[in-house]
Symmetry: C2
Subunit: 330 residues, 2 copies
């Protein structure tokens, strides 16, 4: 088997984050589930946007945030996702490519605009999201080149893709290509409501196709319909080669075969915006995994990257994670 | 005379800031004058953008930043500037209107895209700017409604407008309308290179039309072609009713008739990005002026607003200036 050209290939929704600070009443008034992501149509997205205070626009998308984090660690990475040939699409493309990410999916020339995610940050630094997928829904099997999948040690998928049938087909094609090239497939469950929408398919996917699973406590409990984190943990052990389960300020639990590690969260001076915590945890973990570190170190790298991103606005690292990593990996 | 409906009406270039952190070598390699603003065409703007690291997009434009600051103080404000009917134009419009700013100039439906300013922040927190005016150059006399000017206590103009002949005509029309309605006109000189390009016209304008002048040390020395701040100060006293001259960490000097006040800069815990310091100083000062405070208080309000904006990325306030002002005005 050839050495991979890329540590990780990500496949996910290409979304520009529109970030603003709101009070708790805003979330209540718009009836959003706090801390979760609601998928909305263009009309609803525009109505919510009109009510929002001034915002800042930063490239986002869960999986792409992880890819950006991996690039910050110095990993070689690629991304598959769809924008339109509009201003936000150009911003999105610039922000990925300027990090050195291999990203060559042609932008759509017709149809909906580049997708966006309204990120509403409440005073407790929690984020509630409202996503209009726009052009990102164009992603389909034709965008997945099996040769590109074969060039990556790990293909990393986001659960949110499950909301679109063509994207689901793209995922199945990518997973099959990875398997036949003897590469690994990683998945993040993305959101408990997303898990709830696709529970059976996710369970089959996790059991049959996934080597490395990322989930937070709410997502993994939702997947196995259990109330208790430990009960969920015992299930994961039977289904995945590696599982990394995050628990916010309580750190994470990493399992792999007979191994199990409890990893502390890294403390932060000032919690500003939790957006991207899970995405950057995955970045640190996958960086460790693809660059030959043991599972406990992978978890610590994840904690470190998550701590960096929650100390500022925006879901991508503001400083070089490669430099920070020197403190963890000696 | 009717009471004004607006404290301040701003007329300026409508620009979206594209903010990124760069090292000193980037500024040198691209041959930009450090700390100043270079006007570029689309081709150059795109070439620079392609070289920039990932960025965040935030609505900007010097005069509009001041208007946004005034809105944060709770002042009633209006703005005249031009965007295109594109994504960045919608973002720009949203960000102003959501602050309560009266902004009803129709976006251009043809021609260049919404203008943008590449803000390059170096490790010393200094910003060097590269501006592609785009649709903002569409501003002309037809955009200035004398009735709107008459409804504002102060019409506030930015020197950058002088780079475009139609905008210059718009300014002259606005100044005449303000005068005939017995309202005041304020001007910021914007940038020493801008002053250098239009020195004679600026001198005439300041002598004949301007009630309140804002300038930093480099700009005011450039206007009067003197090396020494004090020499410039003596000139200003002869020409303007009120002058507010800023000197970065050395504070500001405020003059008006026989009055002269030396105002200290407000200290900040952490200097992050000096973008918008002058714009927010003007916001604080004009808030004080239009809400009946003495000149020394106006200067202190300016220092306070400048200190807030340099403690974070972006040129508009991140917190309520009305709340901060309670510390200054009792």
């Amino acid at each position: 088997m050839r050495d991979p050209d890329f540590a990780v290939l990500g496949i996910g929704n290409a979304l520009v984050d529109v970030i603003s600070s709101v009070d708790d009443e805003f979330i209540t008034a718009h009836d959003f589930p706090r801390g979760a992501t609601t998928m909305v149509d263009l009309e609803r997205a525009e109505a919510v946007y009109a009510d929002l205070p001034p915002a800042q626009e930063i490239s986002g998308g869960s999986c792409a945030n992880t890819i950006a984090g991996l690039a910050s660690f110095g990993a070689t990475v690629a991304f598959i996702g769809r924008v339109r040939d509009d201003q936000l699409g150009k911003v999105y493309t610039h922000d990925l490519r300027s990090l050195g990410v291999h990203f060559d999916v042609a932008p759509a020339t017709t149809g909906p605009a580049t997708g966006r995610c309204l990120v509403m940050v409440t005073p407790d630094a929690q984020r509630t999201q409202c996503t209009y997928l726009g052009a990102s829904t164009f992603i389909g099997p034709d965008d997945v080149d099996p040769a590109l999948v074969a060039r990556a040690a790990v293909t990393y998928l986001e659960g949110y893709l499950w909301d679109q049938p063509p994207a689901k087909d793209a995922i199945r094609k990518a997973a099959a290509a990875a398997r036949s090239a003897n590469r690994q497939v990683a998945l993040t469950l993305s959101d408990p409501f997303c898990v709830d929408r696709h529970r059976d398919e996710f369970r089959d996917l996790v059991a049959d196709e996934i080597d490395v699973l990322f989930a937070n406590e709410a997502e993994i409990c939702c997947l196995y319909e259990v109330d208790d984190f430990d009960a969920a943990l015992q299930q994961v052990r039977n289904h995945c080669r590696v599982g990394a389960l995050t628990r916010s300020e309580h750190g994470s639990v990493v399992i792999g075969g007979e191994e199990m590690h409890a990893i502390d969260a890294e403390s932060v001076d000032r919690l500003v915006d939790t957006t991207g915590a899970g995405d950057q945890y995955a970045a640190g973990f996958l960086y460790g995994l693809t660059y030959g570190h043991d599972l406990a170190t992978c978890g610590r790298l994840g904690s470190m990257a998550a701590a960096e991103v929650i100390s500022h606005f925006g879901a991508r690292p503001a400083v070089s994670l490669a430099e920070l990593a020197e403190r963890v990996v000696r």
